[in-house]
């Protein structure tokens, strides 16, 4: 088991390095004029522009820049923002924004997981019944209609109906409700539909028929046999979902004006703020890869029949 974990961590490290290096190199393809604001570019003469670019270090060979970034990384220095928040350290920008996304994300994971898994069980239990029908309707609407549309209407109508503020205020907890609900809705549908699907699949298995024919009550078959086996497949996605809540949601955060992580990547890429982009890509890649790894471990923990060390030999 120990050697398996080491091997997986090594592979994960390779993935992260490839991702970060390729994005790093791609960013160097952007034109140099992108590092200026429009006024700066007009106001500076050619010498001043060159001096500015040299000062940023973007005129060096990309590999030298990469070595510089890696060296800084070893010392825990992620660089300083160029254009988005001029000259403030990237780490402090992220430390300031991440808590918002994390709090909303974790709260919504708790809500969507508990309600979604409950709904999933209900739908599987009363397959083709009223609950199943309503649940399917909900999931179809949430998954099929572009989220921008229903998020916008939720913000507009529910805040009007309840008299809640339309945007987020840190000091008014009532304004936290709608963003949290908005964050939860899509996840809720995801948990419900997949749990239902896996439970319905399990229901036709022989061991379930056997347990039923032994005379086990339906609730016990559902809880002890079907649900437990259906959860094994689902559980591997949980760690990644929890870890990546830090990414926030661009749509919800910009609708409610929450200063979270959601829009940071997009605005940083557009303004060519390379240090921020590199750091975020590194952060998400590490968390994403780590999440998959933890998911596999969790799955093996939940289902003792799964032996990870053996699977790795087959090149799974």
């Amino acid at each position: 088991m120990g050697s398996y974990i080491l091997k997986r961590l090594g592979q994960s490290l390779v993935t992260v390095v490839i991702v970060v290096v390729s994005v790093f190199m791609l960013l160097r393809l952007m034109p140099n004029s992108g590092y200026f604001t429009r006024e700066d570019y007009v106001n500076m003469d050619q010498a001043a522009r060159t001096a500015y670019l040299r000062n940023l270090g973007v005129l060096d060979n990309p590999f030298v820049q990469l070595a510089h970034f890696a060296g800084g990384l070893m010392k825990g220095d992620l660089g300083r923002s160029i254009s988005l928040y001029p000259r403030s350290p990237v780490s402090s920008i992220i430390a300031e924004k991440a808590p918002y996304s994390l709090c909303f994300g974790l709260a919504s994971i708790i809500i969507s997981m508990s309600l979604g898994l409950g709904l999933g069980v209900l739908m599987a239990r009363h397959k083709d019944g009223f609950a199943d029908w309503m649940g399917t309707l909900y999931v179809t609407v949430v998954r099929a209609i572009p989220s921008l549309i229903w998020l916008f209407f939720i913000q507009l109508w529910i805040s009007g109906l309840m008299g809640w503020p339309m945007i987020f205020y840190l000091d008014r907890p009532v304004s936290w409700i709608l963003p949290t609900i908005s964050f939860s809705l899509a996840g809720l549908g995801w948990y419900a539909i997949w749990l239902r699907r896996f439970m319905v699949d399990e229901e036709n298995r022989d061991y379930v028929k056997f347990a039923t024919s032994k005379g086990l009550p339906r609730t016990r078959v559902m809880r002890g046999h079907i649900l437990r086996n259906a959860m094994v497949v689902l559980v591997q996605y949980f760690p990644q979902q929890i870890l990546l809540t830090i990414a926030g949601s661009l749509l919800i955060e910009s609708l409610y004006n929450i200063p979270g992580m959601g829009g940071l990547l997009v605005s940083a890429v557009r303004q060519q703020d390379n240090p921020i982009v590199q750091t975020i890509v590194l952060l998400y890649a590490v968390l994403g890869v780590l999440g998959v790894f933890l998911g596999d471990l969790l799955m093996a923990f939940v289902d003792p029949r799964i032996k990870l060390a053996d699977c790795s030999g087959k090149g799974a």
């Binding site: 991702v19 791609l26 960013l27 099929a144 209609i145 572009p146 549309i149 990547l265 557009r270 975020i280």
Partner: protein, 310 residues
């Protein structure tokens, strides 16, 4: 055991003569996979209704721009023509620059449908071939899994911002950007399916008889996956249309002079308080199209499962 036919009441039964043709019938069921799929699908009125919705919107989107000469981008300089509510001449009203929303909506429907169709065909086409090879050829598994991990961890906005520097921003750039991450998901899905049937007896037998790789994949493996792939394609279409709306919102979508449902929704959203119809029409059409494709795709996948055939 003794036969007691003689004791049966005379009027209720009569002996049947032996009919060779009728005997054949019981031994052979005229089962055709596609006909059964079609019949199971057609039996459900909801799926048929939604399929009709798709056909009608497709027809409107593709025929209207051909037969009408209203320019969806024609700006009216007369301010009295701006922000008109729906009326004769402008069934959906006009927007803040006097552009006819009826024309814009159907031109936008065409753009978004085309976007969805092209992305679905490319994603599923590439995903199918690569996924089949990935699952079938063992040596490819390691590098492809690594490629999947890498592509999965490169955030999409990075690609969307960088691509226009290499290509000109526009319709095809969005398609390439969305496909660049979409195909590998489908390839992964196909690969998992292929692995589950790769070592089935009939495939082992074929391999022993020396069937070449390309025929193994095209004749033995892919026909198994046709129904799943069609469903993937049907679900990629609403996903792509939705992505276009989202990209328009974050400012990385199609150029504003391209009429698309995403641009219409985002323009309408800004004026929603004053002129709600400017958002209502495009929104209703986006919702109708995406929901129809989603449900039809799911229903089709149910219908294509032989266990649901009778």
């Amino acid at each position: 055991m003794k036969n007691d036919y003689a004791q049966l009441p005379v009027g209720l039964f009569r002996p049947a003569p032996f009919d060779e043709a009728a005997a054949e019938l019981t031994g052979y069921a005229p089962y055709s996979y596609w006909r059964s799929t079609f019949r199971t699908f057609i039996r459900n009125p909801i799926s048929v209704g939604l399929l009709l919705v798709i056909v009608v919107f497709c027809a409107m989107g593709f025929l209207y721009p051909v037969f009408s000469n209203v320019d969806p981008n024609r700006v009216d300089l007369e301010t009295s023509q701006w922000n008109l509510s729906p009326q004769s001449g402008h069934p959906f009203g006009t927007d803040g620059l006097g552009r006819d929303l009826w024309a814009r909506t159907w031109h936008g429907t065409r753009t978004s449908m085309l976007l969805g169709f092209i992305i679905a065909v490319l994603d599923v086409g590439i995903g199918m071939v690569v996924g089949a090879l990935w699952g079938y050829v063992r040596r490819l598994d390691r590098p492809m899994t690594e490629l999947y991990n890498v592509l999965n961890n490169v955030p999409q906005p990075v690609i969307l911002v960088l691509l226009p520097y290499i290509l000109r921003p526009g319709f095809w750039t969005i398609i390439i950007a969305l496909c660049s991450t979409g195909w590998i998901g489908i390839a992964r899905f196909v690969r998992n399916k292929v692995i589950s049937i790769r070592d089935a007896e009939y495939n082992v037998a074929s391999r022993c008889l020396g069937t070449p790789l390309h025929r193994m994949i095209s004749r033995n493996v892919l026909p198994y996956l046709v129904s799943v792939l069609i469903m993937e394609a049907a679900l990629t279409i609403p996903y792509s249309i939705g992505s276009e709306v989202y990209l328009g919102f974050i400012g990385l979508g199609l150029p504003l002079d391209t009429v698309s449902l995403g641009n219409l929704v985002n323009l309408g959203k800004n004026n929603f308080m004053l002129y709600p119809y400017q958002l209502a029409w495009p929104t209703a059409i986006v919702a109708a199209i995406t929901i129809s494709f989603y449900i039809v795709g799911n229903r089709f996948s149910d219908a294509s499962d032989p266990r649901n055939h009778v």
